[in-house]
């Protein structure tokens, strides 16, 4: 029984394969009169046309090691490298102040755009102060600056859980000088990327 099944299968497949490969319409010649009793009256039996099934398109399986090519360099840049030259720009403050002026709001609007574009980025807003004032006072002032920035970003629609805050007070000056030129650079809220997804 098994052998018959197998044979039938093979024959069937042969027929099927044969049917697949043929490109031209298959026509079966009309049966000769007399071969089939009862069909002598018909000399031109209609030709049997077998419908042609076009072969399915050739599919090459996708190579899983090939990454989709992106036009955006930030996608492939590390967090450390992004932070060295970040699309998120810092916000600056007046002396002893945590108020946001017009340039600050403009900067934050731009930063919000960046955070909308990269919707999985998580950021820490660092509050910094210049070296004047006590170290302890500056820890609190830096925190107020970071919080003011976070609150404004949230008001622009950035979810609060994507914005962490920390204060470094006057411990981490970006510019090491002892004049207003340096101090003004150090009175900032700095956006540090901490996670990309």
């Amino acid at each position: 029984m098994k052998r018959l099944h197998a044979l039938t299968l093979v024959l069937g497949m042969a027929v099927a394969l044969t049917g697949c490969v043929k490109k031209t319409a298959a026509t079966t010649p009309a049966p000769s009169p007399g071969l089939f009793p009862g069909s002598a009256t018909s000399r031109t039996a209609p030709a049997t046309v077998s419908s042609e099934v076009p072969p399915p398109p050739v599919v090459v399986p996708m190579d899983p090691t090939v990454r989709p090519v992106s036009n955006d360099p930030l996608v492939n840049t590390s967090i450390v490298d992004i932070n060295k030259d970040s699309p998120l720009r810092p916000v600056f403050f007046a002396y002893d102040s945590d108020s946001l002026d017009e340039p600050a709001r403009t900067t934050m609007s731009a930063n919000a755009e960046v955070l909308r574009k990269y919707g999985t980025w998580v950021v820490t807003v660092e509050g910094h102060c210049d070296e004047r004032g006590t170290a302890e006072y500056n820890l609190a002032l830096g925190d107020r600056r970071a919080q003011a920035v976070k609150n404004y970003m949230v008001s622009l629609g950035i979810p609060a859980d994507r914005l962490k805050t920390v204060s470094y007070g006057s411990e981490f000056p970006f510019v090491p000088g002892h004049d207003e030129k340096s101090w003004s650079q150090n009175r900032r809220a700095h956006f540090m990327l901490t996670a990309k997804q």
Partner: protein, 472 residues
């Protein structure tokens, strides 16, 4: 009358404490820095008439190998005595020409009296084998009718060459205790923050503005500096526990949190249990070591800190300045008996110093001029703090009994972040007067006559003075 008191056991025990140097947080022993060169000894004394005048003879060394130790021990001892201003130290130059005597009876008393010495400090160092050195110290009276009488006689059996400075410090503390009934601070230490190690904090956006700041420990005179933390990030605001056996400090992982160290190589713990949504900083251990007061943003809106207290084991954290949502409270310090806290608050519009009971009740404003920050409470009944006036900083002291504040530093450089010595007679602080960098200095209280530079390299901040050593 010859009194020989052997306290070798105490010295040995203390030497072991020093020899078992604090290991860095990561368990690797910290190499000792070479000792700093001794600064010129000051001889300015405001009222020399009331203080015993001491001349110093070089120590007799039993072997040539001990000669340098013999010089060091006298230099350090003279500096320690001069520091407390209880003895008048005759300038070393004045006594350089006087021939050294080998015994108290053979001192050339007339020559010593000629340069004003009422007493002569003399001694000897003897190699007793096994790396140990025995120090014999005598303070000899020069004035009739007590010429030759020994006012102080001690034998120190467990000294070492490497620990010769500690030997001198022990002698100084013993002399102050016995002869002036004073707890000297010669064996105390300062913990502080420095960027001197030159390592960078990880992940900063700009490499040249990324100083790692680590916690260091040094003798009160700046010698014996040891790096304690090795965390390659920002670690600040260390504070000693009682018996100088614990240390708390703040360190930034993502945000700052309080770390508790036991200085015996065991892992640090985080009793304030911070996370990346809160800041815990400027911690201080209570005088009995059971609690930690600290500044925290926990539970509040950003930038409005409160003073919190937590048990050393992390239990019962609680806000002791609640209901202050629109003001910032922080920089706490414990009263010497642990029943009160002083702290900074800006609730009146500018930073001022307040005191309260440790449970947060009985809040009292204590400063009223300029801006005041970072109080530190002395057992002599005063609170030292940073005073800001017209853009400059000085150290001020508030006399608690009189309710009066006065400035004790001299307006040179920026003077901030005071910490008081455990005997109340000195204040260490940060100043920029030497080349613009932040360095730690000490000043004497109450007169404020002598400012001594303690650190010389890097930027050094957040000093904290250790308690008196136990078993003194």
């Amino acid at each position: 009358m010859l009194r020989v008191m052997t306290i070798s056991a105490g010295i040995v025990a203390a030497s072991v404490l020093l020899a078992a140097a604090p290991v860095a947080f990561d368990g690797v022993p910290v190499p000792q820095d070479p000792q700093r060169p001794q600064a010129e000894v000051s001889v300015i004394l405001t009222n020399p008439g009331s203080h015993p005048k001491i001349g110093f003879q070089i120590f007799n060394a039993s072997t040539p190998a001990l000669t340098e130790a013999g010089t060091t021990i006298v230099d350090v001892l003279a500096s320690d005595l001069d520091f407390e201003k209880e003895f008048y130290v005759i300038p070393r130059k004045a006594s350089a020409a006087i021939p050294a005597a080998s015994s108290p009876q053979t001192l050339p008393f007339p020559q010593w009296r000629d340069i004003g010495a009422e007493f002569v400090l003399m001694g000897s160092l003897r190699d007793v084998g096994g790396g140990k050195v025995e120090a014999d110290v005598r303070l000899v009276n020069t004035k009739a009718p007590n010429e030759g009488r020994e006012e102080f006689t001690r034998n120190y059996g467990g000294c070492t060459v490497a620990g010769i400075r500690f030997c001198a410090h022990s002698i100084a503390d013993d002399m102050h205790k016995q002869l002036r009934n004073l707890d000297g601070v010669a064996r105390t230490k300062l913990a502080y923050t420095t960027d001197r190690d030159g390592d960078k904090s990880v992940g900063r956006p700009i490499d040249n503005a990324a100083p790692g700041k680590e916690i260091h420990l040094m003798d009160y005179d700046g010698a014996g500096d040891q790096r304690y933390t090795n965390l390659h990030r920002l670690s600040i605001a260390p504070s000693w526990g009682p018996d100088a056996r614990s240390l708390v400090f703040a360190s930034y992982t993502t945000t700052p949190d309080v770390f508790l160290a036991t200085l015996d190589g065991r892992p640090l713990t985080r009793p304030a249990q911070g996370n990346d949504s809160m800041s815990n900083t400027t911690p201080v251990l209570s005088p009995d070591g059971t609690k930690i007061a600290f500044t925290s943003s926990r539970g509040g809106t950003g930038g409005y800190y409160d003073v919190w207290v937590v048990n050393r084991d992390g239990s019962n954290p609680h806000n002791v300045t609640p209901n202050t949502e629109r003001s910032s409270e922080g920089a706490p310090t414990w009263s010497p008996d642990g029943s009160q806290l002083a702290f900074t608050s800006d609730r009146t519009g500018t930073n001022q110093v307040f005191t309260m009971k440790a449970d947060g009740t009985n809040v009292d404003r204590r400063t009223f001029a300029g801006k005041a920050d970072r109080p530190t409470w002395s057992k002599l009944g005063y609170i030292a703090y940073t005073l800001e006036r017209a853009g400059g900083h000085d150290i001020a002291v508030l006399d608690l009994a009189r309710g009066e504040s006065r400035v004790i530093t001299d307006g040179i450089g920026s003077c901030r972040q005071p910490t008081v010595a455990p005997n109340g007679r000195h204040i260490a602080f940060v100043t920029t007067r030497w080349g613009g960098k932040e360095n730690i200095a000490t000043i004497d209280y109450p007169l404020g006559k002598e400012i001594r530079q303690v650190t010389t390299q890097g930027n050094n901040t957040y000093p904290n003075w250790s308690p008196l050593p136990s078993g003194k």
